[in-house]
Subunit: 245 residues, 2 copies
Amino acid sequence: MLRTELANQGAAPKIARPVPLRESVFEALLELILTGHLKPGQHLAESELAGLLGVSRQPIREALQLLSGEGWVDLHPGHGAFVHAPTVEEADQLLAVRTLLETESAKLAARHSTPDGVQRLRALCARGLAAVDADDVDMSVAINSELHAAITELSGNKVLAELASLVSRRVRWYHTPVARKRGRDSWSEHTELVDAIAAADEDRAADIMRKHTEHTRDSYLEQRQAEPVESAPEPTRRRRPRSPK
Amino acid sequence: MLRTELANQGAAPKIARPVPLRESVFEALLELILTGHLKPGQHLAESELAGLLGVSRQPIREALQLLSGEGWVDLHPGHGAFVHAPTVEEADQLLAVRTLLETESAKLAARHSTPDGVQRLRALCARGLAAVDADDVDMSVAINSELHAAITELSGNKVLAELASLVSRRVRWYHTPVARKRGRDSWSEHTELVDAIAAADEDRAADIMRKHTEHTRDSYLEQRQAEPVESAPEPTRRRRPRSPK
DNA sequence: CAACTGTATGCTGTAGGCGGTCTACGAGAA
DNA sequence: TTCTCGTAGACCGCCTACAGCATACAGTTG
């Protein structure tokens, strides 16, 4: 059923599939995880997913490996795949690492800032503020990601950008609800940040970014106190191995 | 032929295999890459590797996915896997990221230092110096890795430790020859670093670690000037896709 | 001689199937 | 009642097989 959608992403009927099935499956599963259809801790039976997406188990397995590599699912040899259930400790650590990576990115972006690059950042800021004005929260969050990605890319360090992007995606999974709360504040900070980058003021850019990400972190901690724990429900069927180690 | 070695790692004959084949394959392939038997840019035909290791293509594929996730090989859909060929630019960026991660680790390690942890670090330093005295370069390099790993773990941030370990392994691939040159200097720096951690002096620890990793970076750059480029040989058989993009 | 086209070969991506292991559950004994 | 053990079912890991595309090469044409 879903198969056609997965296989023929474009419109042409008989055009060769340029993207391996595993990557379509990867995105489909990631979407299911991010939207909460697959809950943390849940056991992912390969046959079940294969039936759901209308493909064989093989691409499912490969997609699960990719997801495991990015930390979305945990593979327990002999027991299959489980949606990763982040502990509060891990979320904290991830947020700390994000602060580290993004701060360095901002510093480097300021150092290597170009008029062209700055202009792109400003455009994103404008779009972001417009989204906030229109109360389009989803759009605001999306543009927020774009802006941060643009900054990391402006840093000129691709390795750094890749890591930052990875960590940010993970972080966003945890605190998306937070981002919805502090829309306008966040975007005014963004504007200041871009100004600092435009002025090639490394230290100020780094400073603003650090405070910015730590604000998000504080908001996350607050939110978590409100709704203390979203404990993973008992795995649908298969239990976790005895010693998760 | 190799199969038995891969499958039955332990001694017991009929004990269930606790480790999936793909992980054994992963390590076997990584070893081949690190030792240079598989050269950068080389095309990795699944059937060939399967025959070489005595397993079917399936575990090979999964191992290649894992290797791709850690950046050891590049997967080009429809064209197969190629050993990653690092550019000088990428090596630089990787070294910069390593400095960032390790510096933060050192700072946190100093902040959270415990007598027990410090003692372990000192033991590693002693073993490292002993290895240098004995002119056992391989041992020295190995203990060097252990020490850095121990420091990142002492930081208390597992996410950070994992990233640092990943990046370090990649870095080591590029500059192993370098580490051989500056054995004793490196270890005296290590000793100072451990002292700073023991004294819970965050700034000094971070400072020393930053200088330490940048020393390594400088050595790498020097070495690279000596032997300008180790360009990848023409791929054994299959060419790279037209637009590597 | 150079460029193009048709054909052959090798490889990847996917499907389907088999053996072995683990979990779940019910019966029987303490 | 509670613990132990045996059985049945489900699932994972791996192997084999096949369809389709990519590449290489030879033959052909300008």
